[in-house]
Symmetry: C2
Subunit: 349 residues, 2 copies
């Protein structure tokens, strides 16, 4: 990465400046994927386990265990519909769910900034416990570090999760096949806009809450209904668009989406119009896409409908192998969806 | 904790000021344990798993799995004998080892500060991979977040680890018994002094390296030699003294240590004299204590001797039940060891 002319840092830093981390490296877009695929993928990760997934399924002994981690640096710590504590628990629960795992155990690592108010920490810790109880996961181990004032931002939280994966469950990008139907479990963009409004003190003419929710319930419900889930992906940083592009690229398959089938509520639509955002790229914390065969789609929709978030079949996988995501607009025209280099809204999780 | 008069924050913040996090809350001493036992123990952790240990042993399915996490905020990032990357891998490997686990899988979560030099990140990531390879653990999943300039300190790393624990292994504070012999695997204080010298730019008349090392090897070697390890504890934040006091208090047993049997190298001794530190409280990253029955002590010593760090029987557990740690000095006098409120040296791991 460092030695190519297309290096994205060169021009931003000048020829003599060292390459540096940009906010965009955490944004869920192209720069983050370059970092993950490049440095982390090539150097850090054990190749056998690098499946471009939200978590990994390992077998310590005779049990299939999903294992995943996320750090949470959301700003502000409290936002409409949630806080960093709930997010830290459900975010990792959701990564386990995307592996088809039954969430079991969670670790919690806190990086506290000197001077952080103890009362805020108490609220966050109580949120975490309530979120864990609701998702049926147990917090069993943890760690606390404190950094000097000005070297943190109140609190950062890391969680790692363990879940059990049934032997017949195989959910991963490698199983996406031509003809697969793509189901989205609800409308998009609420989380990103809710966090942004709290951060910037924007007051819209409406009260919009994050879609933050635990997703293990609907996923396990689909599995228990006999649906063969090929792949799942939750739509966090980078939103629906980045998730689709990443999967299409990884698998070298084309994906075609009908824009009018992607639900966007009026509040998110207005906010995006005012702010110049594309809702396809706005972050969610309770939304995911499922790749299933057409035969399984009606049952999957039925199951997801029972959760009240308004699921929808938004598109399908075609047998072209160019790895492109196309969106068909309501006017019938098509546009190719690309990954942004960074994120419209940094630090939303 | 908040409502008692003995609240340690009240007096430091004044009566009208909110309680706040202090650097000492991360120091491995009394304040950190109050936070862990109070807020985290009572609210966050599932009671069934709160065993005052470095990790937890869970059973997802039919396999006994040790699960542990640590965040690493060491400053500076590079120090004699190691860097944050090696520390982040071996620190968690060592927590697994303290549960008697065979380390298997590791997650890595990065919190990067905007502007951090990519070359430093590369060096750290390479260190992590080399450390993982040497300890026989695979890094299988990860996460990357970026925070705004001035809201981090280059890079913080969280790792969580999984290891397999044999069914007959039961290593935990609850198994410490009167009569147990306490073995220390080597001399103490190198890590804390090495990090401090790098941070403050102190140049002593000697080159002192951290004792940072992976500990799964010696622990598994002892288990394979048939030793019934009652409890293990690595001597990180707060050093030997804090580890002993925590275990004595948890178990309500007395511990007596012979000061002259605790190895301290000449360099650490001089540095501590100059700086006014007590080596018993200085952090280590490659040292641990083992509680074994007297019958197992000779074999344990033999095994540890083969690792060349100079192990020593430093004391024993008595049948008194007051939960006190006593040190007998070379002059024959005794002093009671207490936990510091914080840490002589913050951010050493």
């Amino acid at each position: 990465m460092a030695s190519t002319d297309s290096n994205p840092f060169r021009s931003m830093n000048g020829p003599m400046e060292p390459e540096r981390i940009l906010l965009a490296h955490g944004g869920g877009g192209r720069l983050m994927h370059q970092l993950i695929d490049g440095l982390f993928g090539l150097t850090l990760l054990d190749g056998a386990y690098d499946k471009k997934h939200d978590g990994v399924v390992v077998e310590p002994g005779s049990t299939r265990v999903a294992f995943t981690t996320d750090s949470f640096v959301v700003h502000p710590l409290f936002f409409p519909g949630g806080d960093i504590g709930t997010l830290a628990v459900w975010g990792t629960v959701n990564d386990l769910a995307m592996c088809g795992a039954r969430p079991q155990f969670l670790s919690a690592g806190f990086i506290l900034e000197e001077g952080f108010e103890m009362d805020l920490l108490r609220r966050i810790v109580h949120s975490m416990r309530a979120a864990a109880d609701r998702a049926g996961i147990k917090i069993v181990t943890g760690d606390t570090k404190v950094v000097d004032r000005g070297k943190g931002h109140g609190v950062y939280i890391n969680t790692a999760g363990l879940g059990i994966v049934d032997r017949n469950v195989q959910i991963e990008p490698g199983r996406i096949a031509p003809g697969d139907v793509i189901i989205l479990n609800g409308d998009i963009g609420r989380h990103g806009i809710a966090v942004l409004s709290a951060r910037e003190g924007l007051s819209f003419a409406f009260a919009l809450e994050s879609d933050l929710a635990p997703l293990a319930g609907p996923v396990l419900h689909m599995l228990d209904s006999g649906i063969d889930l090929h792949c799942l992906r939750d739509l966090t940083r980078g939103g629906l668009a980045s998730a689709l592009v990443e999967l299409a690229t990884t698998r070298g398959l084309n994906i075609c989406i009908e824009e009018q089938r992607v639900p966007v509520c009026a509040e998110v639509r207005s906010a995006c119009e005012i702010l110049g955002f594309d809702p396809l790229y706005v972050a969610n914390e309770g939304r995911f896409i499922a790749f299933v065969s057409p035969a399984d789609a009606p049952t999957a929709l039925d199951v997801l409908q029972s959760y009240g978030t308004g699921p929808s079949v938004i598109g399908s996988v075609t047998d072209c192998v160019s790895g492109i995501v196309t969106v068909r607009t309501p006017l019938g025209t098509k546009r190719i969806v690309q990954m942004f280099s960074g994120e419209q809204l940094p630090r939303i999780c």
